[in-house]
């Protein structure tokens, strides 16, 4: 850090540099890429959850005018040895590497034929000409019984239960034996999906003889695409060119290469023609990835004062048939994170993952957030059972500054820079907790049912294990003094073009508008954007690169001005002597000297203004937040209306508060969707019933209330004092909303334990209470 540069841009709600092109329709998303000779891909997908392909004749499809190729499993599958992404351990049991279903289909949406044609219209025509017969087999649909089912989703694995971990803790057993009360409930989360507004898509162009694969893709991780794409094709990463354009959202769905993406890469190489595959919305809802399908049975022991003594957890999650990216198995992460912002005492846990004949599980904003869902809903249940106000119960158990640093019995270490007690208090104050309780009581007397829900959590952000540990920034001041910044990120709504420019601008003494961020081809390895990691890790890299560059710029300027480096300051791209503003050179003069008049540089200094930095992040940087919302339930229709929604967030120093609040609000809306509206439901035969936007209900502006933000700022120990914040909204919202509805329903004597709390579910609950 340079003491001579004041923070002018970091911490400000700088307007986004991305916006001018995006608000005028001039973004460049993957479907906007058109190459000469490009052909279009469509996949034939299974209508059966499980079945054997008894007959497949593609000749009529292949003969259709405009069709260029029809590929089946045996054409493409042999090219791939594994579907595993680089972050997953190489030896965990994984589904077979079927790009296309071979001999049998394993979920509705399983692709079994790829058609390549002159237009997507013709490709879809050809699919209808496939002569195919299936023999239906009994599917495994219910994940609660999948482990014991005789049918196997992947016979190659010889089990539907590929992943099971058990960590008993004798101290927990002991604590339970001596506890005043042990309360147990099973909490269920239902099947949801990410729904980026832009579906997945890829354009792949093979250059024969050169041996180069050029790719444009909707991805949040261009380097993962480069690495896994190269591995899929058996070429070097230097021959895999990944262009990164605008990406229309992902929320975890576009970290890893899907089976379809890889099939397109392989087919493009086989055909030697550029191919485009743009997933349509039905494919996206059926076959991209599902998430959140899980349950956790929680037992908590408490003493007479409501102090948590110990917990026992049993987590079961559904990975579907082909989890996106590899064996997800995040159940163990949910149980490990369960203690959250409380002194929970000793915890025993079990986590199991099963396969079913359904769409594969994938990462979705806070993929482990079942820990907060189960814990926060459980705390409200405990509060109700022992007759203590839920806010008070949290206050009695929450981690306070004197508890920090804190180590949970599950092995988590929390820094001294978390502030869960403060966010709890701030959110309670903003919502007007006591006043609401008075209003609620009065409303109940008038037959109106109001409720309030709290969710308090610690979010593990910027995790740094294995491939996630670093990001790089290559900074180049060009000859005219403007700055090109190359990073391994994959911004898809997170505003990195602005926030990284803010960091560089302050560090280097220029304006954000003078900095252009470039991602994808030409940047150095990074895991990309996801996991709430960009502010800390990418930000750390950008800051370090700018800092290194600043030193060199100052050194050259000092030489040109015949001044001492310590006397110089940089403002708006002008380097001047403090107190003598007339003695100055511009960034452009420094750059021109560095590149085009290198003889004028200080003796021994390397020519040019290029600096690369790689930031290695700590194992994890924790942020924390508290959500409190209020609702009204209409007992006649079961409809839930959210009244107010407050988020108190501590993500350390904010680079751009506007962007932070945008991230929080977006996550909250997704969580509201999950708790009340969205359900990727299957029938008992494994048929998906929500394969269009008429049935999969993403909330609109009319369902999401105004979100009120509070901020507690405790800087982290990372450079800049930032903490991640991308996923938190979607972690806190489901339990906050759930708890609010449960609170509103309390007078009926009912205790929900499942989402979504749609009107049908709410009315059923009320009816069950009235009986």
């Amino acid at each position: 850090m340079s003491p001579t540069t004041a923070a002018r841009y970091v911490g400000q709600s700088v307007k986004r540099l991305e916006d001018p092109r995006l608000v005028t329709g001039h973004g460049r998303y993957v479907d906007d890429v058109v190459l000469a000779g490009m052909l279009h891909v469509a996949f034939a997908r299974s209508d059966l959850a499980r079945g054997t392909i008894t007959h497949l004749d593609t000749s009529a499809a292949a003969a259709l005018d405009g069709v260029r190729a029809v590929f089946v499993a045996s054409d493409l599958n042999p090219q791939v040895d594994s579907l595993r992404a680089s972050m997953f351990p190489p030896h965990a049991p994984a589904p077979p590497p079927n790009l296309l279903a071979d001999k049998d289909v394993r979920f509705v949406g399983d692709p079994y034929v790829m058609v390549v044609a002159e237009s997507r219209y013709i490709a879809e025509d050809a699919i209808e000409l496939l002569d195919v017969e299936f023999e239906p087999l009994e599917p495994v649909v219910d994940y609660e019984t999948a482990a014991d089912a005789s049918a196997l989703v992947h016979p190659e694995l010889e089990t539907n239960l590929p992943n099971q971990m058990q960590v008993p803790n004798p101290e927990q057993t002991e604590a339970f034996a001596g506890a005043a009360q042990v309360i147990t409930e099973t909490w269920y989360q239902h099947r949801q999906t990410n729904v980026p507004m832009e579906t997945r898509g890829i354009v792949a162009s093979w250059q024969p003889h050169a041996g180069v694969m050029e790719v444009w893709a909707s991805t949040q991780s261009p380097h993962e695409l480069q690495l896994m794409g190269a591995r899929t094709l058996g070429i070097g990463e230097h021959k895999m060119v990944v262009h990164f354009g605008d990406v229309g959202g992902a929320f975890g769905q576009k970290v890893f290469l899907g089976r379809e993406d890889r099939a397109v890469l392989v087919a493009a190489k086989l055909l030697g023609r550029p191919l485009k595959w743009i997933e349509d919305r039905r494919e996206n809802l059926l076959a991209a990835n599902h998430a959140r399908i899980e349950q956790m049975t929680v037992s908590i022991a408490v003493d007479e004062d409501g102090k948590f003594l110990a917990a026992n957890l049993d987590q079961l999650q559904d990975d579907g048939a082909y989890p996106l990216g590899g064996p997800a198995g995040l159940g163990a992460m949910s149980t490990t994170l369960f203690p959250g912002p409380y002194r929970m005492g000793p915890v025993s846990w079990q986590a199991r993952t099963v396969h079913t004949n359904t769409c594969g599980r994938g990462a979705y904003r806070g993929p482990w957030q079942m820990e907060s869902v189960a814990r926060e809903q459980m705390i409200d249940r405990v509060a109700s059972e022992i007759g203590i106000d839920p806010l008070e119960l949290r206050r009695r158990n929450v981690l306070k500054p004197e508890d920090l640093p804190y180590q949970t019995s599950t092995g988590l270490s929390f820094e001294t820079t978390i502030s869960p007690d403060q966010t709890l208090d701030q959110a309670a104050e903003i919502i007007g907790y006591e006043d609401f309780r008075v209003e609620q009581a009065k409303a109940r007397e008038r037959g109106r049912y109001l409720g309030l829900g709290i969710a308090l959590y610690i979010e593990p952000t910027s995790m740094g294990m294995g491939p996630l540990g670093t990001e790089s920034a290559m900074l180049r001041v060009e000859v005219d003094g403007h700055i090109n910044l190359f990073m391994g990120t994959g911004s898809h709504g997170q505003s990195l073009e602005t926030t990284m420019a803010q960091l560089v601008a302050d560090e280097l003494g220029v304006c954000p508008e003078d900095v252009s961020l470039h991602q994808g081809h030409g940047s150095g390895y990074g895991f990309g954007t996801g996991g709430s990691r960009s502010a800390v890790i990418a930000g750390g890299a950008a800051r370090a690169a700018a800092s290194g560059m600043r030193e060199k710029v100052i050194a050259i300027a000092a030489h040109l001005l015949e001044a001492s480096a310590g006397d110089l300051e940089v403002t708006d791209g002008v380097i001047s002597v403090k107190g003598t503003p007339s003695a100055q050179v511009t960034m452009a003069q420094v750059a021109a000297t560095a590149y085009q008049n290198s003889d004028a540089l200080p003796e021994g200094m390397e020519a040019g203004l290029e600096f690369t930095a790689r930031f290695k992040t700590p194992p994890v940087t924790h942020s924390n937040a508290c959500h409190i919302c209020t609702c009204e339930v209409d007992p006649g229709t079961g409809k839930v209306t959210l009244l107010r929604y407050v988020v108190s967030e501590d993500c350390g120093n904010m680079i751009n508060p506007m962007v932070v609040h945008g991230q929080v609000a977006g996550g909250v809306a997704q969580g509201i969707g999950g708790a009340l509206y969205e359900h990727a439901v299957y029938d008992e035969n494994g048929n998906p019933l929500a394969s269009t936007f008429l049935d999969y209900l993403v909330p609109t502006a009319a369902e999401v209330p105004e979100i009120e933000h509070g901020n507690v700022v405790v800087p982290s120990d990372t450079p800049g004092g930032h903490k991640g914040t991308g996923e938190g909204g979607a972690i806190g919202a489901p339990p906050a909303v759930f708890n609010a509805v449960a609170d509103a329903l309390a007078p009926f004597g009912v205790y929900p334990n499942r989402q979504p709390l749609d009107p049908n579910a709410v009315l059923s609950l009320i009816a069950s209470g009235a009986k």
Binding site: S119, R120, Y121, E124, D125, E128, D280, R281, R282, G636, T637, G638, K639, Y677, H679, V681, L689, A690, T692, L694, D695, L697, P699, T700, A701, A702, E703, D758, P759, N760, L763, S764, A767
Partner: protein, 313 residues
């Protein structure tokens, strides 16, 4: 998600449209606003070799009305009033839902259509969607069929044999099925305005703003000068395989003094007239229960207005 190929026809008159439908039979489908048909074509859930686009048939657009003693007058563009009877409002089948929503004649003479229109999808849908398309599509969860049924509207239908009227009660047969034959074309809808003290109310429950209704109700009430209900029409949507009338509610209201109706209790009778079908959004049981509650609420709304009307009158 791209539609299969079809041949496109854009007739400019009802007779040409009917001729095309007759010529191609089951292979042809009339295209009105396309807000339901086009998605089904794109998803290849349905297909036709011939699409007969009605958007160039100017005589199918617009609202006209007559009052007793007056001849037909065109309130909005086209006067397709050949069959219009005294004191009727005639709405061309291709009249956009947005036009129905904002048309002053409709608001004044058939207020239920005016009240129901904003519940249809979103404004971008209503800018294109048509009243005839909604009625001919006969989705049990859509708004206009319930209103048409409640008010006893008339479907004016053209075929190669000429034009005939089908009363609403005979028009809706089952889900997505009407009395229209393959070469029939729904040309217009006609409604008789209510006279005397009367009130109208409409509401529905949907999962989200603009979604198809889980249940909905259209209520029209009329009273004599003594304040007794002498006319009650209640249409419901989302609670059967077609739009349905709440005959039990209508019967219970008849002759009651406006100020002595227990709307919630009378509304509960509506359950008897429902035969709901459950789906991914709500069970049959939910639709029956919430639907009855809703009928009571809409009825209460209409009663409040009728009381006002009687006071003012």
């Amino acid at each position: 998600m791209k539609p299969a190929a079809f041949e496109y026809h854009a007739p400019e008159s009802v007779s040409d449209a009917v001729g095309l439908l007759a010529q191609y039979g089951d292979d042809a489908k009339p295209l009105a606003g396309g807000q339901s048909l086009v998605p089904m074509l794109s998803m290849r859930l349905t297909r036709f070799e011939h699409i007969v686009d009605l958007n160039q048939v100017q005589e199918m657009f617009g609202v006209s009305s007559t009052s007793s003693g007056n001849g037909a007058n065109s309130a909005n563009g086209i006067n397709g009033a050949a069959r219009i009877k005294a004191d009727e409002v005639r709405i061309g089948a291709m009249t956009r839902q947005a036009s129905v929503e904002t048309n002053p004649t409709v608001a004044q003479k058939v207020p239920l259509l005016h009240l129901a229109s904003p519940y249809i999808g979103h404004f971008q849908i209503r800018n294109r969607g048509t009243i005839g398309g909604s009625v001919a599509h006969a989705d049990p969860a859509s708004e206009y069929p319930a209103v048409m049924l409640a008010l006893g509207g008339i479907a004016e239908v053209a075929s190669p044999l000429g034009t005939r009227d089908i009363p609403a009660a005979d028009f809706f047969q089952s889900t997505f099925t009407t009395a229209l034959a393959g070469d029939d074309l729904l040309v217009a809808l006609r409604f008789q305005p209510w006279a005397g003290p009367c009130s109208f109310a409409f509401a529905e429950i949907a999962r989200r703003s603009g979604d198809f209704a889980l249940a909905g109700a259209a209520v029209a009430l009329g009273a004599n000068e003594a304040g007794k209900i002498n006319r009650a029409a209640v249409g419901m949507l989302g609670v059967g395989s077609t739009a349905v009338r709440a005959s039990s509610v209508e019967a219970a209201l008849s002759g009651l003094a406006v100020d002595e109706v227990d709307a919630a209790e009378v509304g509960r009778l509506a359950a008897q007239d429902m035969d709901p079908v459950g789906d991914v959004h709500a069970s049959a049981e939910y639709r029956r229960s919430a639907g009855s509650t809703l009928v009571g609420r809409v009825l209460a709304d209409a009663l409040v207005q009728l009381t006002e009307e009687l006071k003012d009158g």
